[in-house]
Subunit: 462 residues, 2 copies
Amino acid sequence: MTRKMHLNAFTQCSICHHSKGQWKHPLDRTSTGYRDVGYWVDLARTLERGCFDSLFLADVHGTYDVYKGSRETAVKHAVQIPGNDPTVIIPAMAHATSHLGFACTYSTTYFPPYQTAKLFSSLDHLSDGRVAWNVVTSYLNDANKNFGITEPLPHDQRYDRADEYMDVVYKLWEHSWEEDAIVRDVEADTHTDPAKVHEINHVGEWFNVPGPHMCEPSPQRTPVIFQAGQSGRGNEFAARHAEAIFCIHPNTELAAPGVKSVREAVAAEGRAPDDVKIIQGVAVIVAPTDEEARLKERTCRRYASPEGVLALFSGWAGIDMSELASGKNLEEYESNAIQGVLSFFSKIAPDREWTVDEIGEFMAIGSLMPKIVGSPATVADELERWMAEADVDGFNVHAVTQPAGFEDFVDLVVPELQRRGRLRTDYEGSTLRESFFGAGRRRLPETHVAHRALPPWRKAGA
Amino acid sequence: MTRKMHLNAFTQCSICHHSKGQWKHPLDRTSTGYRDVGYWVDLARTLERGCFDSLFLADVHGTYDVYKGSRETAVKHAVQIPGNDPTVIIPAMAHATSHLGFACTYSTTYFPPYQTAKLFSSLDHLSDGRVAWNVVTSYLNDANKNFGITEPLPHDQRYDRADEYMDVVYKLWEHSWEEDAIVRDVEADTHTDPAKVHEINHVGEWFNVPGPHMCEPSPQRTPVIFQAGQSGRGNEFAARHAEAIFCIHPNTELAAPGVKSVREAVAAEGRAPDDVKIIQGVAVIVAPTDEEARLKERTCRRYASPEGVLALFSGWAGIDMSELASGKNLEEYESNAIQGVLSFFSKIAPDREWTVDEIGEFMAIGSLMPKIVGSPATVADELERWMAEADVDGFNVHAVTQPAGFEDFVDLVVPELQRRGRLRTDYEGSTLRESFFGAGRRRLPETHVAHRALPPWRKAGA
């Protein structure tokens, strides 16, 4: 049987997401649409028509201020600012759809676990079990300051704390309310059996949370866990917790060993290989013919703002890219940091002469994501090649112009993938976890770390 | 001209709200509806049909565990548990309506101001300016523990901190983004003019927040501020910040001086009398005739769970009401705390012999709210009497059976109020602030404390 492909639409409640400058494109609607419920409802319906697994909403809590040592460039090019909270848009989209899932970034650094548990249980109820949580530990210095964090934790310790954070929310989601706690026994005047609602009494290094959870068990209990580990400790965290790990490899050659090592890390956590879906980010421009697609790309490039994406990259890398001279090959710099940047981009294209202008141009469309431009057959070929050669399970699709690019993908690529037997023509079940893992699997499998310490009432088979 | 009445529907994303036990009533839909988007969308449409100002959603972050020294009773009777986060349901309801406002409780104790500002700006955008924030400082000991707060601030200090908290969010909402910051200048490749997005650089006793705000100016900028000060320091806080102050006076005689003193406190803050609407909580049971309404009440009382409401009251008062003997007049107790309770209820009904059973029975329908039971004319008469004798501006309407009680109010009381010229037949403007204060007033007036320290760019008339 042909291995099925998973598809998430990757975006943000902000403007242009990973293709800075596209707000100037005549088909862009993000510049005002991002703050309009109707925009999101329409997009959700489009994606459900295309049998996508989910709409995946990134989030950020501060501005990118490394470039030129100021946030000026980020503000000018709408680099993730202005932006809205993504959690509140989900139930409206869920109400307009019946199967599409909704993944949402939420930070373990800025929100207490008790609230996070309540929020995601609420979203899971309101979407009938179609929510995923993209767990991030947050690193942006500017955001930390806004939350009063003057001494952020070192990277690895941030993940240690996040491990305990996950322990707390798992206990609230999985081990506080028994499945049949709500009895609605009119005769006994009992809505809920108090003996079946348990405190969690978590006492740890970072958190003390007695519980119980405020919410009754939602369809999935624990939302589908997304993560993007990008470091040693981050990968370990992802291998332990994530059900979908997303990555942005520049090409299949580099992706293949990366994916293999993630799968090995997952196995080392005692999990089945299929317990984690590996999802690669790709920027797609599709049109009826290859030639039209290339023309489309050229139009998009005309609207691109390389300076905006350099502000983004400077924030990610912690290097002020404005200090690099236009036209000067990165090879000519002595600084280790710049050599690190060069080494990174050389992997993407070894033969290209990388200057700051080349980096800006490369990233202006879909930032670091591989760009796939072509006819439906060309795009489908390329996605299939990624699955075959890099062993990824699916894709976070970035549309360069939004929402038009997503509509194009659904109208052109989706039928091609379905014709090839690569993509569902109907959803497997009713929850997001079932979309990823098959009908009937609404809950975390027993091998997941959330179940490592079962409370007595679960051991008893309840 | 007849003074217009303001109406909010007061409820919670939980079960039965202030009338414990009604989940057993055949017309109750809260027991499953509270976690269903469709339920909320239907309710919002009903309220908009009835020209209500807003749907007002309470929230809580812990369980009531004073009664019997345990949360058992609260869980059994679904006393605000299970419950969902109310913020996430608002955009779905906003999308299904065009004028109804949405007020939502959010705690200054549990959420950082930077996040609160982003969340409410997002909601104000997504609802086209129809959001209110009910500012609470939170007191529930059980909730504090879940947020890792082992030494809660003393009452007055909680309000000092909340004053500074408001200062932070006002700066983010009102003083960070200039109105015309977003320029979308294609030629200049400038989406937003960085010179018009300002840091707030708040440095205070409790918070340090540099900003700028993540969100562009929303239709109302600052959401309509709701508050329910119930103490000296709380009243001061409300008089300074609130645009709608809600109260639960037991009768008009006690309400009149209370309302007068609030209006004086508002004036003392340099605000106009009309800058604050005073909203009284009432529990309404309406039917085509008085007799039918009384029958309806009797049915509701058959389903009431006095023990549930005693658990609620024990949490509010910090007194374990289970220790009082059934049938024993509160006069017979020596404890100051019990005498305080007696003095409270004696004001409600001086001639009643108050026992714990009487308290439970009184509160089982609409807790401490005055109960208004009768035909549309009777209910309208009583609401008009409250306005005339106590000088309140409107009502938080609690429906005993939900959503049926709200539907009854809209179908029966609303036309009667409209016939009397008391209630709008169409909305004044498009934002919630305009519903409260008239067409054109989408923003806080310049007399409001939020504008006390104007930043230079606003002084310049921008």
